[in-house]
Subunit: 317 residues, 2 copies
């Protein structure tokens, strides 16, 4: 890797930040990790990815407990939970070089819209959708089960026109591809976020509601019906908001999940560790956008109401 | 009580059979209890009702382990779970006097329709809807928290016309009233069963889905919304099947539940004790009847699918 390569910062080094940060560092990029609870472990042992695809990868990394110690970054990848975006905004602003591209590697709708007003206007803001099965095993230790693609789309910032936006997004996709990660530029971030919800809405929520990973969820006739009905409502919600998803997309994700190794979605890990669930981005915002377009999504709404109850009681335990 | 009083048999002495059977025996009726797992405890100690309304009632009762030992009964009250009706049918037939009135003290739809073909045609079949908070604490021990009314309706049998049916139903209601239990004759059993579902569909299911009793369910804004939305779907389902429920009935039950002592619905007890849940009568049959009338009830369907998954995994534990 040549010395003019961009400097990359990773904000929020859970499973997503740890995996992509380590893959980029391993490819020779200059990667800097801003850490909170994991700082001691990562300073001492680096990051370890136990991957069913790449084998076990472990290497020391440049780790920081204080954003003031970080050099200004050209790219900032945010892999934190959407629930902590508001408190991360000042750290993102401090870690950013003047033309920094901030990429939210997060699920759900409205995440860029919520963060945008909290960021300086000169920063580019992008969304990144990760098609990957990873989870955090321990501080600095990530388990990677399968997949890995990251698709990027431009949200807002100083890019003057479609060509300039396309240039920024392609440069980001090129970074990931240089690290051996499949990555595509997406022309319509809003549509891509709806599309990702076709997976997240059923599997994340049902993993918590039914305390079940993908294999048992895909093995039971009634949970299969429920997954398909929830997927159909996401497709309907997207359509009501002007996003016609590709024909057969829900069926495709259903079939992909059937072939995946058994997987506990991230929301289940949040539940099991009594962290707040990402209900605003994955449920409340899609429901609100569909409702504003005159579209009712009753099963998703019922699931959201049940998860809201579970989340509040889980946090009070 | 005079000696010409009818002979009453209780089939399935859980909370419902134990409570009403004891109340009738206490009023001087000739009551006979057919028992299975509870026979030893009840033979030794009688039945004990720990009531928040009546204080603690305990008395020896006429208990049988074998239906062949029971005298023929004029009334048979069936308080077993709907899930065991098919296997109880031959016992009911054996315990019945020639003009016996069989009363199903059970929730849900289709319970009389399923049992009817398994019973001799000369038996009267009635449905009874119990508005009561009771649960079985131990073999032969019933905890009664509040309420207690039983409303009766005629389903099928030898009664020749509406007047004859009315006569049978009034006689049943009179029995209960003679034991100090509020009881009304209902002219339309099918509608009354739909009406009872307005409570059972949300509270029974959500108690299992959310592992929560009525007080926390009524204390959370999102579970309240979900309860109200499920109630509205039951009202809509009833309407699609030709039963216009009384105006404001759902709101009435919601308000009653808010004032009730904290209560774990019977489905939660079944779940906690790894017994089969009464999903066919309370969910599948109402959904099927509404669907046949062209009415979709998406929240109830989603709840049913989730409960089906939970039930199967609960029984396999």
């Amino acid at each position: 890797m040549n010395t003019s390569s961009p400097r990359i910062g990773i904000i929020g080094t859970g499973a997503i930040g740890g995996y992509y940060g380590l893959m980029l560092a391993r490819a020779g990029f200059d990667v800097h990790f801003l850490l909170r609870s994991e700082f001691d472990a990562v300073s001492a042992n680096g990051i370890r990815v136990e991957s069913a695809v790449h084998g076990t990868l472990q290497m020391p990394v440049q780790a920081y407990a204080d954003v003031a110690d970080m050099p200004p970054c050209d790219w900032l990848l945010v892999g934190a939970k959407t629930t902590s975006n508001a408190e991360l905004a000042p750290l993102i602003a401090k870690a950013a070089a003047s033309d920094c591209k901030v990429v939210l590697l997060q699920n759900g709708l409205g995440v860029e819209e919520s963060l945008r007003p909290l960021l300086p206007a000169h920063l580019h803001l992008l969304g990144g959708l990760c098609f990957i099965c990873v989870n955090r095993e321990a501080p600095g230790v990530v388990r990677h089960q399968s997949l890995g693609a990251v698709n990027l789309g431009y949200h807002s910032g100083p890019a003057a026109d479609a060509a300039a936006r396309q240039h920024v997004v392609e440069a980001g996709a090129e970074l990931f591809r240089a690290a051996g990660i499949d990555s595509q530029a997406m022309s319509n971030l809003a549509q891509a976020r709806w599309q990702k919800l076709v997976w997240n809405v059923p599997y994340n929520g049902l993993s918590v509601l039914l305390r079940a990973s993908t294999t048992p969820l895909m093995a039971d006739a009634q949970s299969r019906e429920l997954i398909q009905a929830l997927m159909a409502e996401v497709v309907e919600g997207a359509r009501s908001c002007g996003h016609e998803l590709p024909q057969g997309y829900a069926e495709h994700l259903f079939a992909v999940t059937e072939k995946m190794p058994d997987y506990w979605p991230s929301m289940y890990h949040d539940f099991a560790q009594q962290r707040p669930l990402e209900l605003a981005a994955i449920y409340a915002e899609p429901l609100a956008q569909a409702r504003a377009a005159g579209c009712s999504l009753p099963r998703i709404e019922a699931l959201y109401q049940a998860l809201g109850f579970i989340d509040r009681h889980n946090l009070q335990r």
